[in-house]
Amino acid sequence: MELPVFYVLAAVIVVSALLCITRRNPISAAMWLVATMLALGFLFVTLGAEFIGIIQVLVYAGAIMVLFLFVIMLLSLGGAPSDMRRWPAWVLALALVGTLALQLLALGRYSPERLAIEYSGIPSAEPDSVFHGSAVLQSQVASHGVVGAMAQPLFSTYLIPFELTSILLLAAIVGAVVLAKRKI
């Protein structure tokens, strides 16, 4: 059941991402990006990260994309001429992206089984006996629920990074107001 859902969502994600980068109208590009992010949110739920999936839909597909659409409409860019670069840039881009994609596709060969064997040095090591994160996650979800399992490390192990993000958000608010206000 999981696999067909994954492949349907993967197809939707790739097609709408490709449409997003090729549509001339910025509004269409933004709408296809919303489709990509929604499908990605569903994919997160399929992968067992329900809370992240909901946050993805709320924050990315909701808040951030509204901000983008707002700016596009504010600048009335709807009828702008094509902003695609000419062919030398295309050739260079395809060469660079092809190289990058080849390197990144090696990620697909990653497997916890092989990592467990290399990490522990035991030829017959099982991933679950070497890495305990997956078992800990399952027991945390069973005892605290999906949100509680994420809140536990967020407010204990990652407390300092969590507090730092509040400073980051404050700096972003101040920066955005200053940039929007002053005559630059």
Binding site: Y7, I13, V14, A17, C20, I21, A29, L33, T36, L40, L43, F44, L47, A49, I52, I55, Y60, A63, I64, L67, F68, V71, I72, L74, L75, L77, M84, R85, A89, W90, L92, A93, L96, V97, A101, L104, L105, L107, G108, Y110, S111, P112, F131, G133, S134, L137, M150, Q152, P153, L154, T157, T165, L168, L169, A172, G175, A176, L179, A180, I184
Partner: protein
């Protein structure tokens, strides 16, 4: 487990984002492609969190916070760019001074 397919998908998504940044000249579309790349990285974190514990999901949380802050500041910069020379074409942006 879907780990391999998820990581492959995130590689493809990241490459599409990079392609978008390289072939477009509209600053807002380029910015949207950067968000696409951030999403690809989030997919990697979520896929690996399934095998190695919940820390990956916490990192996605931080990435989303940074993306929200980046969107606010980036769009303010694009607005300032538009006010300065009535266009957000990246060919126009070749000076650091106003």
């Amino acid at each position: 487990m879907l780990l391999g397919p998820s990581l492959t998908l995130s590689a493809i998504l990241f490459a599409i984002g990079v392609a978008g940044v390289l072939i477009r000249r509209n600053a807002i579309v380029v910015f949207m492609c950067v968000e696409l790349m951030l999403n690809a990285v989030n997919l990697t974190f979520v896929a690996l969190s399934r095998a190695h514990g919940v820390d990956g999901q916490v990192f996605v949380f931080f990435v989303m916070t940074v993306a929200a802050a980046e969107a606010a500041v980036g769009l303010a910069i694009i607005l300032a760019m538009f006010r300065h020379d009535q266009s957000i074409d990246l060919r126009q942006v070749n000076l650091l001074k106003g």
